[in-house]
Amino acid sequence: MIQPSVPEDNRRPDPVRRRNALNSMTTREAQAVEAALTRFQDEQGALLPLLHAVQDTLGYIPKNATSTIASAFNLSRAEVHGVITYYHHFRQTEPAQHKLAICQAEACQARGCRSLTEKAEAAVGCGLGQHTDDNRWELEAVYCLGLCASGPAVELDGKLYARITPERLESLIRKKELS
């Protein structure tokens, strides 16, 4: 029987490719990517932690970072691109000023998340999975925040809110708009 094993990788990191790719990013982007690489490059299987670190710093993973990361990890650009685009959490575009994620999963459905979502769409002026033209707001579907006994639940700019009514959500949105 053929046993799959971790293939030995003889490719060498390409310093020229890496420098060129870093040059095509803004200084801020390049610094974030370099810092993350310094921290995670030698850790086994650490592509996800690295991508998290970059996105936590910048809010997104620069498209031009793909080849830098690929050469540092001895991967092909296709492999890195594949990972970034496979996971819902990772993004390659700058986030809007405010992000509202509304739980769409069953437990929140049973407590009216569908009508809550409609109200939120009307309040911020864009649909689920979209952002407003001025990039002030984006709405995101999330499938479970683990607050299933106190739905409907939302996450607004990283803070969790449970037992949320349409009125309460609208007032939270207004408060953010004034800030």
Partner: protein, 519 residues
């Protein structure tokens, strides 16, 4: 004299304003010159009462809830520091029927202690299991887990001891313990509570597993939707390592065990063990074909124990109290207890740990108090998005892996989501297909494409009643292909909610009740 006050830090309490309540309490106490000791404990799991504030009066904890920041001044006026009556007073916490009628083995400490306090943890039997394990051989530890009858709490119900034995007997230069904390099923939050409210219990369970099978490294793969769980676990690992409960020399035994916390990135299918391993290796979370089993060829190609949070969280109790104490609970082949999670449209939602054998009706009515809307209950989804919808008539089935399976149900991770009579079951079935389409990893065609076709078929049944009967036949055929033609539970179980909705609620699909089983 300083009064001890507890305000939970569980994210279900934070999401309804626990931080603001804690702040208001500190301010009020300061302005009144009252000395207090504020403890941020875990949640007792009675989420309709959160934020639930507890005060120690005469050595006993009395509860008030749900408290808003605006209530705080009023509570001080009423004398809540002395346990005086108030509209929000609930009485002694331990006497509340919701807690008193549970059998909390795994959740014994949750809500009582400060989650990150090593002193608190040890004062409540913490690390007694690890100390016991250090005096045993690996084979003896495995035998205790086997004797306890502990089965995997992630959903499949595979005996944990057999998995451990396989890894123990494998020879390799490195073995791993991996915790599946990618709790993506809607209606479940027990893993989150363990990690946020009693993180050392999971750490202890992992270390014991490491000793049992000879693994020196552990990973906890936590979903990115749980940022609080990630930060508490990270801090707990740092503190446990500094105190010698992890690291190169476990409690001076010369044995090593280290833990790395890894954050997932929002892929539901990574809750499947082989997809999770791919993700930990830094790849796309795509399901692997089995065999080889992860127990033999797992993380980085090495023998790996991969267990759910609740499985490993049950282990310290088994080691400290003995396997029989655990196996004495439960029924049939389902031994011990399961932390059930009451969710959705339910009045008293929360965590209820009971021995296997309790019925869904007891949980929903006796603990849960029925629907929150007050309308009649129509359907219950037990186990998660890939599990069947059960009608009211089946709620007297005992919660036991085999008994529920006999009724077409799946116990899964013990989440129970209640729907009232406003639910459209055809829409729920359509959503099950939609969720599969969004989350499918794409490896198997029936899952990748069948899910989208399934959505379309259900939409046609709803839009054109005249075509519902032939489309219903098509839908059942499609479900059969997905059931039998998918590698993992994503495609293989998505048909469960769809078929159960068709079987029990045909009228929602524009099907006549008599003909719905014709296919």
């Amino acid at each position: 004299m300083s009064v001890k006050i507890f305000v939970p830090r569980d994210s279900a309490a934070l999401a309804v304003g626990a931080d603001e309540v804690a702040e208001a309490i500190v301010q009020q106490a300061a302005s009144r010159g009252q000395a207090i000791e504020l403890v941020r404990n875990g949640s007792r799991g009675m989420f309709w009462l959160e934020p639930m504030v507890e005060v120690v009066v005469g050595g006993e904890r009395v509860a008030y809830g749900p408290v808003t920041p605006e209530d705080v001044a009023n509570l001080f006026d009423a004398g809540f520091l002395a346990g005086k009556p108030h509209a929000l007073a609930l009485g002694p916490t331990e006497a509340l029927p919701y807690l008193k009628n549970q059998e909390r083995l795994t959740f014994a400490r949750v809500g009582i202690t400060d989650p990150l306090s090593l002193e608190d943890y040890q004062a409540h039997e913490g690390f007694a299991g690890l100390r016991a394990a250090l005096s045993l051989s690996g084979a003896d530890i495995v035998q205790q887990v086997l004797d306890s009858g502990l089965r995997g709490r992630g959903g499949a119900g595979f005996p944990a001891g057999i998995k451990w034995k396989t890894v123990m007997q494998a020879s390799a230069d490195q073995k791993y313990i991996v915790v599946n904390a990618d709790e993506g099923d809607s209606g479940t939050f027990a893993d989150r509570m363990v990690m946020e409210d009693d993180p050392y219990m999971l750490i202890e369970g992992m270390a014991i597993a490491g000793l049992a099978v000879g693994a020196t490294r552990g990973y906890v793969y936590i979903r990115s939707e749980y940022p609080d769980a990630v930060s508490v676990m990270e801090e707990a690992v740092v503190r446990a390592t500094a105190a010698g409960f992890l690291g190169k020399n476990l409690l001076g035994s010369g044995k090593a065990f280290d833990i790395t916390i890894r954050k997932a990135a929002g892929s539901y299918v990574c809750g499947e063990e082989t997809a999770l391993l791919e993700s930990l290796e830094g790849k796309r979370g795509i399901v692997r074909a089995k065999p080889p089993l992860p127990a033999l060829v797992g993380l980085f190609g090495k023998p790996t124990v991969i267990n759910n949070v609740l499985t490993l969280a049950a282990v310290p109790y088994i080691l400290s109290r003995g396997p029989k104490a655990y196996a004495d609970f439960g029924m049939g082949r389902s031994r011990g207890t399961l932390p059930f999670q009451l969710a959705g449209n339910i009045r008293h939602g929360g965590l209820v740990e009971k021995a296997f054998g309790v019925t869904a009706r007891q949980l929903i009515e006796d603990f849960g108090g029925g629907t929150d809307s007050g309308r009649p209950l129509r359907a219950v989804q037990i186990g998660g998005p890939l599990c069947a919808y059960l009608p009211d008539a089946l709620l007297d089935t005992p919660m036991d892996y085999e008994a529920l399976a006999a009724k077409g149900g799946v116990l899964g991770h013990g989440g129970i989501v209640v729907f009232d009579d406003t639910v459209d079951m055809a829409e729920q079935a359509r959503y099950a297909m939609e969720f599969c389409a969004i989350e499918s990893c794409g490896k198997c065609t029936p899952c990748r494409i069948g899910s989208t076709r399934g959505m379309e078929v259900i939409e046609r049944m709803k839009a054109k009643p005249a075509e519902a009967a032939p489309q219903g036949v098509l839908l059942r055929d499609l479900c059969s292909t997905m059931l039998n033609g998918s590698l993992c539970a994503m495609g293989g179980m998505t048909p469960y909610p769809v078929l159960s909705a068709l079987d029990h609620f045909p009228e929602d699909f524009n099907l006549a009740a008599e003909t719905h089983k014709a296919a």
